[in-house]
């Protein structure tokens, strides 16, 4: 099992983060983001305890925070985590159709990961890019005016390269 601790490089980022806030606990959200970045997009067991110690709070507090926010995950996502906007304006201008298309193409419903671990799918609320509908976020990358052809080609290429 991988070690539950930041490596030296990440630790330097932690120190910078702490220096930007009056209290260590204030840095909890950016710390959780950092922990996820270091762990393929999720928080493996033990990280809640580790982060609690790091910023001087209880593990219950950390768990409360983790479960409150959409972006913190205690289940490993796919290598490509896809969030399709199916909110108000996007939903009626192609977002709904894009989500359906992806469900069909990947063979999974939102909230799940493909068996090969390559893709996970999520239905998103407004991503503040409604004029670019339909939009989807792949990890940190916002893709605009997405077409089915483009998605199909990307999925095919990702599957064949396996990453």
């Amino acid at each position: 099992m991988a070690k539950v601790a930041f490596n030296d490089e990440a630790m330097r980022e932690v120190e910078t983060l702490f220096s930007r806030y009056p209290k260590k606990i204030n840095a909890l959200l950016p710390l959780l983001h950092l922990a996820q970045r270091e762990n393929e997009g999720w928080l493996p067991p033990g990280w809640d305890t580790y982060l609690a110690k790091l910023c001087g709070t209880t593990v219950n507090h950390v768990r409360g925070v983790v479960t409150f926010y959409n972006m913190f995950r205690t289940v490993k996502p796919g290598r490509h985590h896809i969030m399709v906007c199916n909110c108000l304006p996007c939903g009626v201008t192609g977002g709904g159709a894009l989500l359906e298309h992806l469900e069909h193409k990947l063979g999974i419903h939102p909230g799940n990961t493909t068996e090969d671990g390559l893709f996970s799918l999520e239905e998103a609320q407004c991503l503040a890019a409604c004029d670019q509908a339909p939009v989807m976020m792949v990890n940190e990358d916002l893709r605009k005016k997405v077409t089915f052809d483009e998605v199909d080609a990307w999925i095919k290429q990702t599957r064949s390269s396996g990453e």
Binding site: K23, L29, L32, C55, V65, N70, C126, A128, C130
Partner: protein, 423 residues
């Protein structure tokens, strides 16, 4: 043909604008900061900056339209034992709203200059910019612009030799609409679950870590450099009575040219759709609009020949809110809009208050009945009753934001609900 009134988007609309510090300065940027902090023009005191913002009539662009200068006067003028904080609200999660992202992405320094001026006015030495966590690309963008400022000594200690010290930090959210509500945002910034607080105490009394705090929207702050450079009168001259300045409008939905447009406050709503949005796409007819984000009541085409500002849209029975104008063509199902709206609010309710947590859940189920063509007159009344029971009964304004539009769908488009009655 109506034209944009460019005050905030002037740089962005200039071809080839690079949006970095050098380009912003070349376009006259950071002149307001020099006027206030620099020695050459005598400088301005924090109270003078606040006074100018007050005199300009600038109202908050985050949704509620609260007078910005007035809000600033609630802060202690001379903080002693506790520091003052200015927090910028860049959460921008209201469905249909994308103007803050647009501004920050394409001209971050305009906002940053306003933020620095705001911090100075409030005697704040560490400001935070809260940006939603999904938008990592934007967080990187703003951090890069802040790095440029530190490198040029426009942030840090003794800015422009004035003796004023300031640090700015970008704080990432993590996917929760409620964190746009200012007290939830403060809890989130403190490292907690983002749950709105009881008021009073108001943030100006006990905000971030219990210290005096002001929360302002991105666009609100971005207006400050203009006010300082040109004087409050130049700003107050724009717009309508009680609604001064320009506004960024996010137009989305079934229009030919969705996007962010800058017009004077009080620009005709119909013209926004036709002259800027390019009208309904595909030659279809207009069926409905939602004028100010998902929290604002839906309107019929007959009632949109009005000035688009806080007071006029309110008078017409809806809200300007965050300036998110959503346009829907004749093929749109109103029940679908109601369904999307309530699914959003039910998903995003923080769960703290029973009327909101339970009310949005039951509304979702009720609307589902209409989606399944199993509605009835009685169920329609129940939607109205359940939505009404949320209004005014919650800690924060989320309850009203969810309840009011849900009542409006049935009130404004009853015939659309009837189409989905059980036969």
């Amino acid at each position: 043909m109506a034209q944009e009134k460019l005050l905030l988007l002037k740089n962005i609309r200039t071809k080839g604008y690079a949006a970095d510090l050098a380009a912003y300065r070349a376009a006259g940027g950071y002149k307001a900061l020099e006027k206030v902090l620099g020695k050459s023009q005598g400088g301005m005191t924090p109270a003078q900056v606040t006074e100018a913002v007050k005199a300009s009539g600038l109202r908050g662009r985050g949704g509620a339209g609260f007078p910005c200068g007035l809000k600033w006067t609630f802060m202690p003028a001379d903080p002693k034992d506790k520091p003052n904080y200015l927090i910028c609200n860049g959460d921008e999660s209201e469905p249909g709203t994308f103007k803050d992202h647009y501004l920050l992405m394409n001209d971050p320094h305009l906002f940053l200059e306003g933020m620095i001026l705001g911090c100075y006015a409030l005697s704040c030495h560490h400001g935070y910019i809260y940006i939603r966590g999904e938008s990592m690309y934007l967080i990187h963008r703003v951090r890069k612009a802040i790095d440029e400022l530190y490198a040029e000594k426009l942030l840090g200690s003794n800015i422009l030799g004035s003796g004023f010290d300031l640090d700015l930090t970008v704080h990432p959210g993590a996917g929760a609409y409620i964190c746009g509500e200012e007290t939830a945002l403060l809890d989130s910034l403190e490292g907690k679950r983002g749950q709105p607080r009881f008021k009073p105490p108001f943030p100006a009394q006990a905000g971030f870590n219990g210290c005096p705090t002001t929360v302002n929207n991105v666009e609100t702050l971005a207006n400050v450099p203009f006010i300082i450079n040109n004087g409050p009168e130049a700003f107050a001259k724009l717009g309508t009575e009680g609604n001064s300045g320009t506004q960024l409008v996010s137009i989305s939905g079934h229009v030919q040219k969705p996007g962010v447009y800058e017009v004077e406050m009080g620009h005709n709503l119909k013209s926004l759709i036709e002259d800027f949005g390019g009208g309904v796409r595909g030659g279809l007819k207009l069926k409905a609009i939602i004028p100010g984000g998902a929290s604002s009541p839906i309107m019929r085409p007959e009632s949109i020949d009005i000035p688009y500002d806080f007071d006029s849209v309110m008078k017409a029975g809806s809200m300007r809110g965050s300036g998110a104008l959503m346009v829907f063509d004749e093929d749109t199902s109103i029940i679908e809009l109601a369904n999307r709206t309530i699914r959003f609010f039910n998903h995003e309710s923080c769960g703290q208050c029973t009327p909101c947590r339970e009310g949005t859940f039951w509304l979702k189920n009720l609307i589902r009945d209409f989606v399944d063509n199993a509605g009835s007159e009685e169920l329609m009344q129940r939607v109205d009753r359940v939505a009404g029971s949320i209004l005014g009964n919650t800690i924060c304004a989320f309850g009203d934001a969810a309840g009011a539009p849900m009542q409006a769908f049935g009130r404004v488009f009853p015939e659309e609900f009837r189409k989905h009655f059980l036969r």
